[in-house]
């Protein structure tokens, strides 16, 4: 499998620094905590420990324990408290350590946070950000390796972001915190060390704008989160085989930038969707169905999906590594799509 750390994204412009995705997230949190006194962080071991991934290190030292709170192990409770605080003038950022624990907060998210604005006829607002993780291959087994972004993407009222680069992570997280609707923000645990260029100055990235990570002509690879690195590595190898692959990163699943996805599909006529959620009833199904609906008459082949195998994530490395899309599997699928295999 390819760990993003192996990949580095080319510099985009001057005045940038090469920082890790973890640092980019940390900067976004620090900047928003600085500019807006209503922003606060709550979660398990987010203060002195800086989370198990050390993403929030240093924040409690600057902002104090009133604004960076270590909580009990009560995911539903802290999400509910974040929700109530958000309804009453605060902008909470709730840290759900592993995406697997979203199972515990679905009522607070789907029945409460997502619906409060609509159910109140637009009178209540919920500027709540949930930061959590996704991704396997850390030998963490079935309860610490899931990518459950499809669940929250299915709930009207929630926005869903899953950045792939430090640049996107920082810009999208700042946008999430400033958004007046609840946002679930996914970071791949395997990407925290991935480095990339981030400008020195303040910036945000709007939701609903996909990013073409690499331009190509023969096949479109739509990839989410760390699967973007898998797609980019596959694209490199495909180039060697004379196949030009375009890599498109939606960056947010809700709102979804259908236009950019469909435009790329129409251009290349061949599409593969790569996502680390389970294949069946997953995010890859929506992306494939949406492209299939709108680009049908331009497609030379069916939209194909490369996603996590429909099995609980096994512990044994010889098993786990088979369950996720890899550059090899994406290359193979691409070659078969363009009729070279």
């Amino acid at each position: 499998m390819s760990t993003p750390a192996e990949v580095t994204v080319p510099k985009e412009h001057e005045g940038t620094r090469e920082i890790s995705l973890a640092q980019a997230v940390n900067e976004a949190l620090a900047e928003e905590l600085r500019r807006d006194p209503t922003v606060f962080l709550i979660g398990e071991d987010v203060a002195e420990a800086g989370t198990p991934f050390k993403v929030t290190s240093g924040l409690v030292e600057e902002f104090g324990t009133e604004r960076v709170l270590d909580s009990p192990i009560s995911e539903a409770g802290i999400t509910g408290i974040g929700l109530g605080a958000a309804m009453t003038g605060m902008r909470p950022v709730v840290d759900i350590m592993f995406g697997d624990f979203l199972t515990l907060v679905m009522d607070q998210l789907a029945n409460q946070a997502a619906k409060a604005h609509y159910m109140s006829g637009g009178r209540l607002k919920v500027p709540l950000t949930i930061r959590t993780t996704l991704g396997a291959t850390r030998r963490s087994a079935a309860q610490h390796s899931q990518s459950l972004h499809a669940w929250v993407s299915h709930v009207p009222g929630l926005k869903v972001a899953l950045p792939s680069t430090p640049y996107d992570a920082k810009g999208l997280l700042k946008t999430a915190i400033r958004d007046d609707s609840p946002v679930v923000f996914f970071e791949d645990k395997m990407m925290f060390a991935a480095k990339g260029p981030v400008p020195d100055g303040e910036y945000t990235i709007p939701f609903g704008v996909a990013d073409v990570k690499r331009e190509g002509e023969d096949v479109t690879i739509v990839a989410t989160s760390s699967m973007v690195y898998v797609a980019l590595e596959a694209a490199d190898r495909l180039a060697a085989e004379g196949v030009s692959a375009e890599v498109v990163d939606p960056r947010t699943l809700v709102p979804l930038d259908r236009e950019t996805l469909v435009a790329s599909a129409k251009k290349t006529g061949r599409v593969i969707v790569v996502d680390e959620g389970h294949r069946s009833y997953g995010a890859s199904a929506e992306l494939a169905a949406a492209i299939g609906e709108e680009a049908f008459y331009w497609l030379d082949a069916p939209v194909r999906r490369a996603a996590a195998m429909d099995v609980p994530v096994p512990f044994s490395p010889v098993l786990e590594d088979q369950t996720v899309p890899t550059p090899d599997s994406v290359v193979e699928l691409s070659l078969s799509l363009v009729g070279k295999a």
């Binding site: 109530g84 309804m87 009453t88 409460q112 109140s120």
Partner: protein, 330 residues
């Protein structure tokens, strides 16, 4: 609601009469909701608060307008007690655009944030996090607002309540949990679903708990006043268990109740512990008002209810294009 806190001891004429009027408003409102349902004029169902009026009114009279409440599926009483207007409530119940939620919420989701009501909730225990978070927010923003979390004893079955009580106690949040124990979780007696002692569950988290006669508005007011002022002073959360009773079915459609509770039981509560009669008697004994004046209150309330319901029946539905508005804010 009292604009500034009245000392618990003296429930004077003004407060007593205001409480009586508010309880009367809730009762008459709910009886009209029942009529609207039976007349097939209201879509869906509603959970009536009749019989429990002293809890909502006793609690809310001890609150300021800028204090928060969260409510339940049986929320009309809380909503009125916190200051909502009847016509906008009826409009909401009928799915009309003028409703508090533009017709999108209905009976189980009325929110009235101008009066601090963060909303009814159709998930049992679903607003315990919201109330505790509102208290967290009040503390973080440095206001002295207090949040009250109303819930039925059935919500004691929801784990999230214990999660947030733990944090409320740890962080001394200004929240008061008000358990309305009307003895039934839908069609099942609470003794079949609730082990041990209710108050002890809060006390175990270091939250002072008090049992209150939920049919005695003055007792509810006094107990709430103590808990709210403690919370306002930064001394942390409180917990009240109010013994009460719902006169109607679990919802307006629940008419044959014999299989889960006896007519006797219902009659006993109505004849011996009716919250309006109890307060009325006390007011007259105290000489705060005579029967005539109290009749006049009831009469005026009837007129208010009739006018509000009438208005709502005439009011327009939202435009169909409203359906996809307000999914996302801003």
């Amino acid at each position: 609601m009292a604009t500034e806190a009245v000392p618990a001891a003296d429930v004077g004429a003004e407060l007593a009469l205001r409480m009586y009027e508010q309880m009367q408003r809730i009762r008459s409102f709910e009886e009209r909701v029942d009529q609207l349902y039976r007349g097939a004029k209201m879509p869906g169902l509603a959970h009536l608060y009749v019989g429990e009026e002293a809890v909502a009114v006793g609690v809310c009279e001890a609150l300021r307008r800028d204090d928060y409440i969260t409510s339940t599926h049986r929320g009309h009483g809380h909503c009125l007690a916190k200051g909502a207007s009847m016509d906008r409530m009826f409009c909401e119940l009928l799915g009309k655009e003028e409703g508090y939620c533009r017709g999108k919420g209905g009976s189980m989701h009325i929110a009235d944030h101008e009066n601090g009501n963060l909303g009814a909730n159709a998930i049992v225990g679903g607003s315990t996090g919201i109330a505790t978070g509102a208290a967290f927010s009040a503390k973080a923003r440095g206001t002295d607002q207090v949040a009250v979390c109303f819930f039925g004893e059935g919500a004691l079955g929801q784990g999230v309540l214990y999660e947030v009580m733990n944090m409320a106690a740890l962080w001394k949040l200004p929240v008061v949990y008000v358990c309305e124990n009307n003895s039934y979780n839908e069609y099942t007696h609470f003794s079949e679903t609730t082990s041990g002692d209710i108050g002890a569950r809060a006390a175990a988290f270091g939250i002072p708990a008090e049992e209150v006669d939920g049919q005695d508005a003055r007792a509810v007011y006094a107990a709430t006043h103590r808990a709210v002022e403690r919370a306002r002073r930064g001394e942390g959360p409180g917990f009240l268990v109010c013994e009460t009773y719902r006169y109607h079915g679990h919802h307006v459609g629940d008419v044959d109740r014999a299989y889960y509770r006896s007519k006797d039981e219902e009659e006993r509560w109505k004849s011996e512990r009716d919250p309006l009669r109890l307060l009325r008697t006390w007011i007259v004994e105290r000489g705060f008002a005579d029967e005539g004046e109290l009749e006049r209150i009831a009469h005026d309330v009837e007129a208010e209810v009739a006018a509000a319901a009438e208005h709502a029946l005439e009011a327009p539905f939202p435009d169909p294009s409203e359906v996809d508005k307000h999914v996302y804010a801003g």
